[in-house]
């Protein structure tokens, strides 16, 4: 502040006042004290919701809309078919955009439209524990609010719930002071209009101040990543024309799998996952009368026995009336719950992407040479079940010599901001990638043509803020992430050392094949005998020598034959021929283990390494007189 004052030359804003005189009184303050509507709060603090700058605002708007579409389609059991369109309204202003997102979901009944799109903290997902993308009831209305605030333009929603029903077009304006929406106009389209070929769906149009740029954390990236984690969705993206484009660009993300993810179940909270305040709230709101009933019905994994023992160790009885549980008793009850042995929450409420689908998504999206994925069994944090899936993709089209990219997902939604605050990032950094033959500067991401992806599926993802950008760092979560990464890393390590081995081997055979032609021809010139038979004999030996080299030992001294552990692993994808695999397959089986090659039982590896070392393809200096080299190395004549 002082710096600013000094810079601008303005006087500090202080008022002189007599000593002891109050600046404000309770009365003057009371005159200004009033309720703050959530919408007012977030309108002021829009960065909390991901609208900090025009570029991010555009992304957040699309993201909120798309997440909702996918949620709605899946809940209705419909394979999602999405259209995302960004129009650059240059005539209005350089930063003016119109976003249209349309789905083929169940639609929204007419009377809900103004609530959903006009009120913050209004939704179907907050009060339940179910794995879904949205969970707060803020998303789409915040986007609409941002659009209204920056452009004055209302949100347009068109929705149709069934083929035989009319579609409703509603134009909405939000009143932030009331956190309510005001319907500007509405139209009913009774006929089967062209918007929804499936007969149902929702279309949202928002005008806003934004900025469309490709690259990291762009809309393009968001859609690509969404396609990776949601290969069951088909997404069509119509992007505004970039300089040089004739018209809008159409980017298709075709559907890669035809099955919907397994339907997720809603669960009751687990007793170990709640705080005292929540317990008191639940006690107030419950419909049960007895404590035993309350514990059994409002929580999961509590049977009559457990309920009784919880009640009793809190000095209460199973039959105690819930309404009679005061603050002191609630505190005892809370302690007793924490101490009770209760089964972990059910995990059938989680729907992982699954190894097969993940592989497909990563392959389609990144075109790497190698992918390994790992799906951890469900685990629990704060009484909430969750599940970690991870994948590493290596090589191919990925850029090398750069820090790995980390693709983070929460309930299939890509997270593109606040990477370093995210538990995923921390888990990647604390994994020792050097063990898997990658470079990794201390405390940083590994280096290489590598993409690491982590997906957390949970009935409630603990985000660090309302903008849902980073996963909070719970020990249980980070540990699961680490285990999943190690699983993938180990497979990557096997693959990389195998690839390196094959590269060396290919090079060796190549070397021999390169020179034997020359040697055969030179021999013909020397002896006068034809080169061809000699060449063929040498070629045969070259192939035999390479086959022997195939049977080398791995780092741990284990014999590596043709079959290695990656071959039949369905959590692994390897691009054909990327590692000389084709060449390898036609090579004859090694005749014998290499270690007894020369009867001395010394590992062949060593020998090879020695030989390779003395392979001076390009002699740096003139060869000298051996160890006498020194100053006068080399005969001068």
């Amino acid at each position: 502040m002082t710096a600013l004052a000094a810079e601008t030359g303005t006087e500090p804003l202080t008022t002189t006042r007599k000593k002891g005189e109050r600046r404000e009184t309770a009365e003057t303050m009371a005159a200004r004290q009033r309720e703050i509507s959530v919408s007012e709060f977030f309108a002021k603090n829009r960065h909390l919701l991901g609208f900090d700058n025009p570029r991010k605002a555009l992304l957040t708007t699309i993201k909120e809309a798309v997440d909702n579409c996918l949620d709605a389609c899946e809940e209705a059991g419909i394979l999602p078919d999405l259209l995302v369109q960004i129009e650059h309204l240059k005539d209005v202003g350089e930063t003016r955009y119109r976003v249209t997102v349309q789905d083929n979901g169940p639609g929204i009944v007419r009377k809900q439209i103004e609530h959903i799109f006009g009120r913050l903290l209004y939704g179907s997902k907050f009060h339940r524990l179910k794995m879904s993308r949205g969970q707060q009831g803020i998303g789409i209305s915040a986007a609409g609010m941002y659009g209204l605030m920056t452009t004055g333009k209302p949100v347009v929603i068109i929705s149709k719930t069934a083929a035989k029903k009319p579609s409703h077009e509603v134009v909405l304006k939000m009143d932030t002071s009331k956190n309510r929406a005001e319907v500007v106009s509405e139209t009913e389209h009774p006929e089967d209009d062209h918007w929804f070929p499936d007969g149902h769906g929702t279309r949202v149009v928002i005008e806003l101040e934004g900025k469309y740029l490709k690259g990291r954390a762009s809309v393009d990236e968001y859609l690509e990543l969404t396609a990776i984690a949601n290969p069951h969705a088909r997404i069509t993206f119509i992007a505004p024309p970039q300089s040089g484009d004739a018209g809008p660009a159409r980017i298709e993300h075709p559907r890669a799998v035809e099955e919907l993810p397994a339907e997720t179940k809603e669960i009751q909270p687990h007793p170990h996952g709640i705080e005292l305040g929540i317990l008191i709230q639940m006690l107030e709101r419950t419909e049960s009368t007895t404590l035993s009933d309350f514990l059994q019905k409002d929580f999961c994994r509590v049977g009559p026995g457990t309920a009784r023992s919880i009640a009793e160790s809190a000095g209460l009885s199973a039959r105690t009336n819930v309404k009679k549980v005061g603050h002191a008793e609630a505190e005892k009850l809370y302690k007793s719950i924490q101490g009770a042995k209760i089964m972990a929450p059910p995990t059938d409420c989680l729907s992982p992407i699954g190894a097969k689908v993940l592989l497909k998504g990563l392959e389609k999206g990144l075109k790497p040479d190698f992918i390994a994925v790992s799906s951890r069994p469900p685990a629990v944090y704060r009484g909430r079940p969750f599940l970690i899936e991870a994948g590493v993709a290596f090589g191919g089209d990925l850029p090398g010599d750069e820090p790995a990219r980390v693709h983070r997902f929460a309930n299939r939604v890509p997270l593109q901001y606040q990477q370093s605050a995210c538990a995923c990032f921390k888990a990647v950094v604390e994994t020792d990638w050097k063990r898997y033959t990658l470079q990794q500067p201390r405390g940083s991401l590994p280096i290489g043509p590598l993409v690491v992806m982590i997906h957390m599926a949970s009935v409630w993802v603990p985000f660090t803020s309302e903008s849902k950008e980073a996963i909070a760092d719970y020990d249980e979560i980070r540990k699961e992430m680490r285990l999943a990464l190690q699983d993938c890393g180990r497979k990557l390590g096997i693959y990389l050392s195998r690839r390196e081995r094959m590269r060396r081997q290919g090079e060796r055979r190549h070397i021999f094949e390169r020179y034997i032609g020359e040697i055969a021809r030179a021999c013909e010139a020397i002896t006068g005998d034809p080169a061809q038979p000699l060449y063929e004999a040498l070629l045969k030996t070259a192939q035999k020598k390479t086959a022997e080299a195939d049977a080398m030992l791995d780092e741990e001294g284990r014999f590596i034959g043709k079959k290695d552990s990656l071959q039949n692993d369905d959590t692994v994808f390897m691009r054909e021929s990327s590692d000389g695999g084709g060449e390898r397959d036609d090579a004859p089986e090694p005749a014998r283990a290499a270690s007894d090659e020369d009867g001395e039982g010394k590992p062949r590896r060593k020998k090879q390494a020695g030989a390779a070392k003395e392979a001076p393809k390009k002699p740096g200096k003139k060869r000298g007189a051996g160890e006498d080299g020194g100053l006068f190395a080399g005969e001068q004549d």
């Binding site: 090079e507 060796r508 070397i511 021999f512 390169r514 020179y515 034997i516 032609g517 020359e518 040697i519 021809r521 030179a522 021999c523 013909e524 010139a525 020397i526 002896t527 006068g528 005998d529 034809p530 080169a531 038979p533 000699l534 004999a537 040498l538 045969k540 030996t541 070259a542 035999k544 020598k545 090879q608 030989a611 390779a612 070392k613 003395e614 392979a615 001076p616 393809k617 390009k618 002699p619 200096k621 003139k622 060869r623 000298g624 007189a625 051996g626 160890e627 006498d628 020194g630 100053l631 006068f632 080399g634 005969e635 001068q636 004549d637």
Partner: protein
């Protein structure tokens, strides 16, 4: 190598005209060795189980050289290194050796010679189907030719390969070089360029009145002596070898010493390099130890310049060139050579060099007078029989 030469045709061709380059016997012996190498590769590749041809190459390292105290020359030991075709690190060299063997065979058959550089170009091409060249540079080819020499047990000259001519001669001698008579007394200011092949079948000695040979390190010093007609006044032969003398010069000096019984006196710089040159002339060099028999001159003398000359000749301090660390290390290394190790005079000489802490070039004597070296220094040393042996 599309052209097919049968063995019969080869022999027929070589049987004809008398050879200019060495005798027919030598040529046939060398051709046989090269042919044996080719046969060996074929046999191992086509008719053995392992199928991995290899060649044995005597190692040219200090540890594989012996000083024969009786003959007072360096000799090569028995240690060899094996070069296998099917070894990642050796395959390329193996190929290069076969290429140069074939090239050499071609030269011998055509009765032509090529320089080291010529040989490099002769076998230089891109390997079909690759971007790789058979040789990256001449040094790679030079090294392979040395391998071939020791591997086949044939001299480079016998392979019809020679080095760049370096070295000059004038003096009271007439020779025949490839049939041309050359009177070394009438060579003007430039002198006779000593060829790289000085074997008896190329150079024959005619009338010789000279009583000794003065070999100087450099062309500049040699010119001084020639201009001052030193060889006339002292009835000798004057040679120069542009630093470390090439094999032709060494072979010529050795033959002058052996065949004509002329003593060889060397005038070299007072520094480790000068001492090394003397060592090479006298005992042979380490990587050509196998050539010592033909090259080494155990009787060669070192007449200067000496470490004591700085004071003895009262040279000005400007001529001193400080020894650097490398010089010092090298001097110590030379002092430890077996043929210097037990030589008291040489130990004293190197010791004084080290204590002086500076080296001196022969030209430093010019500070006394233009012809001091030719008129005073060398005659005085010779008269006093003051030299190192």
């Amino acid at each position: 190598m599309a052209k097919k030469t049968t063995k019969a045709a080869t022999t027929a061709a070589t049987a004809e005209a008398p050879r200019r380059r060495g005798s027919k016997a030598t040529a046939d012996a060398t051709l046989l060795r090269i042919a044996q190498l080719g046969q060996h590769v074929r046999k191992v590749a086509m008719h053995t189980k392992e199928g991995d041809p290899s060649v044995e190459i005597p190692s040219r390292t200090l540890s594989n050289t012996r000083f024969n105290a009786k003959k007072r020359t360096l000799e090569m030991g028995d240690a060899t290194q094996t070069r296998n075709l099917f070894n990642v690190g050796q395959a390329r060299k193996f190929m290069q050796m076969m290429l140069q063997a074939a090239a050499s065979k071609d030269l011998i058959q055509q009765d032509k010679t090529l320089s080291l550089r010529g040989m490099y170009y002769r076998s230089l091409h891109t390997i079909p189907g690759t971007k790789e060249k058979t040789f990256d540079d001449q040094s790679e080819s030079d090294a392979i030719l040395e391998d071939l020499e020791v591997g086949l047990g044939a001299m480079r000259e016998e392979l019809h390969v020679f080095a760049k001519k370096r070295g000059t001669m004038v003096g009271n001698i007439t020779i025949t070089d490839s049939g041309d008579e050359i009177d070394c007394r009438r060579m003007g200011s430039g002198g006779y360029a000593i060829p790289s092949i000085c074997e008896p079948d190329v150079i024959r000695f005619g009338r010789c009145d000279a009583k000794f040979v003065l070999h100087v390190e450099k062309d500049t010093v040699w010119s001084r002596f020639n201009e001052d007609k030193f060889w006339q006044k002292h009835n000798c032969i004057l040679t120069e070898g542009s630093g470390q003398p090439p094999r032709g010069v060494r072979r010529l000096l050795q033959r002058l010493n052996q065949e004509l019984g002329l003593p060889i006196y060397c005038l070299l710089d007072c520094d480790p390099w000068g001492h090394y040159i003397y060592s090479v002339i006298k005992q042979g060099s380490i990587n050509l130890a196998y050539e010592s028999q033909r090259m080494a001159i155990p009787d060669a003398k070192f007449i200067g310049i000496r470490a004591e000359d700085y004071r003895r000749c009262e040279l000005p301090p400007e001529v001193r060139i400080e020894l650097n660390d490398k010089d010092t290390a090298r001097a110590k290394q030379i002092a430890a050579y077996p043929w210097f190790e037990r030589n008291r005079a040489w130990q004293k000489e190197i010791d004084l060099l080290l204590r002086n802490g500076f080296k001196m070039e022969v030209e430093s004597l010019i500070t006394k007078d233009i012809s001091y070296v030719t008129e005073t220094y060398v005659p005085a040393r010779l008269k006093a029989r003051d030299w190192l042996d």
